[in-house]
Amino acid sequence: MDNPTRDDGAAADEALIARWQGGDQRAATELVGRHAQALARFAVSHGVRDEVEELVQDTFVRAFNSLQSFRADSSLRTWLFTILKRLVLDRQRAERRQRNKVELDEGHAIDEFDALDGMVADEALVRVRQATARLSPMQRDVFALRVNEGLPYAEIARVVESTEGACRVHYHNAMRAIKEYMTDD
């Protein structure tokens, strides 16, 4: 699909990386500014509530330490999402070990969202959150990257380590599940 807007963004990232590698520290500020909020949104969609900024910072530190090995066969944003996802999973595993608990199941995820829903006045918003919380982790990742960030399936597939076709199926299943939940009483 012809997509000049996204291509322009990737080209701008590559130019900023080259500037930073040439010693221009301001390029780092621009790079972080372009992607920090998107990374934070992705972290929140994973259920991260505390230390979102710390997670985003860790993501950038890791990325900048490895920029020499960055290949432009995927976009910088996709690469950053991949790093963040791994950090989130590492953190969740560490937390589970610390609590000596078995893997979080769907019920736990719903409980987390239910607690926040009490503070939300908009009934439709409450329903959307509850519906999203019921998605499988894979569906939630694909749905978040597609809806919140507008990523194409090819890039989503890189982040979630799946195929483009599987991601398309996950997205439409997630959308159908949310619609059904919204219309159910």
Partner: protein
């Protein structure tokens, strides 16, 4: 809430919401939305989810993150432009001090007749004529006989000259003497003169 049967169109709705479709694709989706209530509902849902995600996400302090990032030189191995690596800074300072000392000493010693007589001091590293070798200082014995000649001050040297000097200094492995050298000046006369 039902699904529009046009799967291709539905597939593009998230990108339409984000405004990342090409102009032609965006126009096609917009035309479809005018006549498809299901897709309008889906776009409304997408916008709700997206707005909710933005509302729940804390604002990220970009400056704080940037301050924690590695410097480009630390990662790429190249020095940042306009900066001298701190590990070498003291060596440049030492080289500059030495150049100043030698340069000013030579200039001070130059006589109106053409600088045939020179007064050696403990910091002099110039080679001495063979006739005065017995009274040459330790520094003179260790100093190489070429590549260490200075005739001017620091302002005459470029950064490249300084770096060259630094490289030569690295090749001269002199250790400081445990005994302090005599403070008595030694006068070296070029053409068979006596040393005092």
């Amino acid at each position: 809430m039902t699904d529009c049967p046009n799967g291709l169109m539905r597939d593009q709705l998230p990108e339409y919401v984000h405004g990342v479709l090409s102009a032609a694709d965006a126009a096609r989706v917009a035309a479809h939305l005018e006549e498809c209530g299901d897709c309008r509902d889906e776009v409304a849902l997408l916008e709700t989810v997206r707005a909710d995600a933005e509302g729940r996400t804390p604002h990220i302090n970009v400056a704080a993150i940037v301050s924690a990032l590695p410097r480009p030189s630390a990662v790429t191995g190249r020095p940042a432009s306009g900066r001298i690596r701190s590990t070498r800074a003291w060596q440049f300072a030492a080289a500059a001090t030495l150049v100043l000392a030698v340069g000013s000493s030579v200039l001070w010693q130059r006589s109106p007749e053409g600088a045939t007589q020179r007064v050696a001091d403990s910091s002099q590293v110039l080679p001495t004529p063979a006739s005065t070798a017995p009274v040459a200082t330790a520094a003179e014995q260790v100093a190489p006989t070429e590549g260490m000649m200075f005739g001017g001050g620091l302002s005459d040297l470029s950064l490249n000259d300084l770096e060259s000097l630094l490289g030569q200094m690295d090749s001269v492995r002199t250790l400081p003497s445990s005994q302090p050298e005599s403070m008595t000046p030694v006068i070296a006369v070029k053409d068979g003169g006596k040393a005092l």
